[in-house]
């Protein structure tokens, strides 16, 4: 993946100015202090934000994004939240299978879930979507180490390229990921 001369600003404040990075494909963890632009980079890559200039190449086009906030639909149960992103040709049982693998009851009401459970539903949704690459914003927030390793293993097994925002080197190690460190200017 290559990020060339990327510039982006909110109002007058530059988040990236002529940012350049080049990494191997596979799983990459973006690390850096809070507010340095990790989430912004993921949103730029998901197409939710338009860069002022520059380009990102070498990363598959069809990307699913696991948001930093879960962005689940509270009026649907876990299975329906995941099934929502399935296409007509997808296996309808995929959502229940993924949720069970993540130790979530598919029929469970979202509003009665803990933060860690919601993260896993959001992860199941990102994994269920028919994408070529994953953009994961702090996917293991609220998970204990065993669950974190289990989720990391599931992400690795997809074989998809992934860009993962995290603060933890242990998470990067569990994912077997390369690390892209960014600093605040």
């Amino acid at each position: 993946m290559k990020i060339e001369n990327l510039s982006f600003r909110y109002g007058d404040k530059y988040i990236f100015r002529d940012f350049y990075a080049e990494t191997d494909s596979g799983i990459i963890c973006i690390m850096g202090p809070s507010g340095c632009g990790k989430t912004t980079l993921l949103h730029l890559m998901a197409g939710l934000l338009e860069p002022d200039s520059g380009r990102i190449t070498g990363f598959p086009e069809k990307r699913s994004l696991m948001f930093q906030e879960d962005r689940l639909l509270p009026w649907l149960d876990a299975r329906a939240n995941v099934s929502l992103v399935l296409g007509e040709k997808d296996d309808p049982e995929l959502s229940a299978r993924l949720l069970r693998e993540l130790e979530i009851d598919p029929e469970m009401d979202i509003r009665s879930m803990s933060g860690g459970m919601r993260r896993r539903v959001a992860l199941a949704r990102a994994l269920a979507f028919d994408s070529d690459a994953l953009l994961l914003d702090e996917p293991f927030k609220g998970l204990d180490e065993d669950l974190m390793r289990h989720c990391a293993d599931m992400i690795r097994r997809t074989g998809k390229s992934a860009l993962v925002s995290t603060h933890s080197e242990a998470e990067a190690e569990a994912l077997g990921a390369g690390i892209l460190k960014i600093k605040c200017s």
């Binding site: 998901a46 197409g47 939710l48 990307r63 699913s64 994004l65 948001f67 906030e69 962005r71 639909l73 509270p74 009026w75 649907l76 149960d77 329906a80 929502l84 992103v85 009401d109 979202i110 949704r125 979507f129």
Partner: protein, 267 residues
Amino acid sequence: MEMRTDGKTTYSRITDGKITDGRNWWRTPAAVLFWIAVWQLASMAVGKELILPGPVAVLKALWSLVRTSTFWTSILLTVLRIMLGYVAGVALGCLLAFACSTSRVLDSLFRPVVKTIRATPVASFIILAMLWMSKGGVPVLMSALIVAPVVWGNLTEAYAARDRGLDEMAQVYRLGRWKRFRFILVPALLPSLRAACLTGLGFAWKSGIAAEVLSQPKTAIGSNIYYSKVYLETPELFAWTASVIALSFALEILVRKLIARRDPHED
């Protein structure tokens, strides 16, 4: 209300957001009896049935009315007119809210109209409508005109305040229009629509009866209220008014049941 007792303590539960207590079931009937007593005393103090009839005289008048077919046909036609206007008003409010929320041009076009309708006195509309249409149509139009802006206001505000993060989620996961509408927009707006339906019902009922009083359709509660006033039959006036209040409560219960939450996961 659900109530259990173990012989020592009476347990109560929260119903419709109110804490109910098994020991206080008598409070509402007692309050009603208290106000009926106040009414009786006031009537005795005034001493003129023409000015303020007592509860017994009103009950007698009501008993005479319920034994006539006019009473029941008036109630039936009034309810039909007002509910027709109410349903049309809810539908119109939804359509206008959809138009204003999805198109800036339509918003610029319709917003001032809806706001003007909301600010115009009902009486002005009634008088105008009497010039334009049949007497029976006036209460229908009034109910619709009163309800539509309430529904429009609630829905446009709820649409503007919706969670934009869910729109981004829909964009990332390439959800189609139908999925966005059915699974994101409708559930997000439904609580506001429910609230508007309940508020609008009371408005529709009051404006519909007022329209009947002024336009006097052949068979209608409002017309009978007007005739009671003209012929100085004050107990009948009270009896018709009591019927209106009872019908209003009954319709509210009915609408509440119709629009009650059905999906256990729905907010």
